[in-house]
Amino acid sequence: MTSFRPTEYFRPQCIEEAVKSLIDFGETARAIAGGTDLMVEKPPFVNCLVDLTNLNLGYVDKEGDGIKIGALTKISGLEESPVLQQGPYSAIAAAARSIGSPGIRNMATLGGNLCNGVPSADMPPVLIALDGKARIFGSQGTRTVPLGDFFKDARKTALKHDEILLDIFIPAPPAHTGADFQKIGRTAVDLALVNVGVRVTCDGEGHCEESVIVLGAVAPTPMRAVKAEEVLKGKKITEALIEKAAISASAEVLPIDDVRASAEYRRELVVHLTKNALKNANEMALRKGGEKK
């Protein structure tokens, strides 16, 4: 096995310069931010490291009615951000809090968690459920990709080699919206066996207008349980209906057996986690009337 021995290191001060370095060094260049994936994987083909940490992309700010979260925001920054402590956005902070250890969360970034395309990543499900959009910069300019279309396969995203994720935009959730994140890992710091992010939007009387249920670690990419969403649509949300939706979700997913858990066990977890997430999101939607439009 050849070892990880990059011979070049750049710390660009602007995004144009970063993209240029990625192009100049071609496929042997890799962007690095927190390093908590790359420095574990240590891919031997990497010859050039393009350090993104000086790009001023660490922020959680309001933008219009919604919010934007910079790709270089640390996971610990998401946990602590005052913008993410209440209402549906609090599911984002909950997902962040569930990741690794405090030391890892002080290094790892939102961009890394998304762009590495790891099937068990904890940030994608809630961000997809909240209709997040990835804003991407590359040599062809800036483009926007809905996060639901961002993940193409295990470790493959919509990001091209000469592109860098700028931030995630999340529109204001409609009135009467709740969101939640649930996860089970083998130990307190292990990757998710299954994770789920949900959003429930109700009318004034507790009927489900729209729901998004996104499951992680049960398919090559984060996966929407569309049949389960159909179960809820237009109906008055009850415990029995939530149970039905959760069972439907577990029939839809495509988990694998691996060192962490069997596919069968993962399907069982999907039922319980989806149920809890829907219950919490629905309560939030009813209790607070969700975020103001």
């Binding site: 990880f4 021995r5 990059p6 011979t7 070049e8 290191y9 710390r11 690095i32 927190g34 390093g35 908590t36 420095m39 574990v40 490291l49 350090d51 940490t53 610990s76 690794g100 250890s101 405090p102 030391g103 890892i104 002080n106 290094m107 307190a188 710091v189």
Partner: protein
Amino acid sequence: MKSVPITLIINGERHDLDVKPFWTLLYVIRDKLGLTGTKMGCSSGECGACTVHVDGKAINSCLMLAAQADGKKITTIEGLEKDDKLHPLQQAFVDHFAVQCGYCTSGVILSAKALLDKNPNPNEQEVREAIKGNLCRCTGYVKIVEAVLASTKEGGELR
């Protein structure tokens, strides 16, 4: 191979170094500067033995490139002692027998110190959360948690 010139402020002392692009902060601290109180365990961010503070935050130095620490203030276990006196947290580890083989200790203390710097009177749950990235295979954590709580201003108790 290119070298990257960097400056590290470690325990208040300035070090100007030329580092290779793939050197980790841990490697530089131990092998280039001889500060061997910081330990190398798993080299993959699982065990926390390499925990140091970078600009006041606990991080795993095995996963950070030395080049990425350029210009940053770093605290290692050697930086806690003042005027030949152990830091109260270190003294608490001694007093409460929170050290057995000692390999995890410096990492645990730096993780705990990061918590106490932010929250001087944590409860047991908060202490356990702060050190959950630090593996200790000897103590079972009880003595460690006792020591951290005892070192706080109010000398919190296990619940």
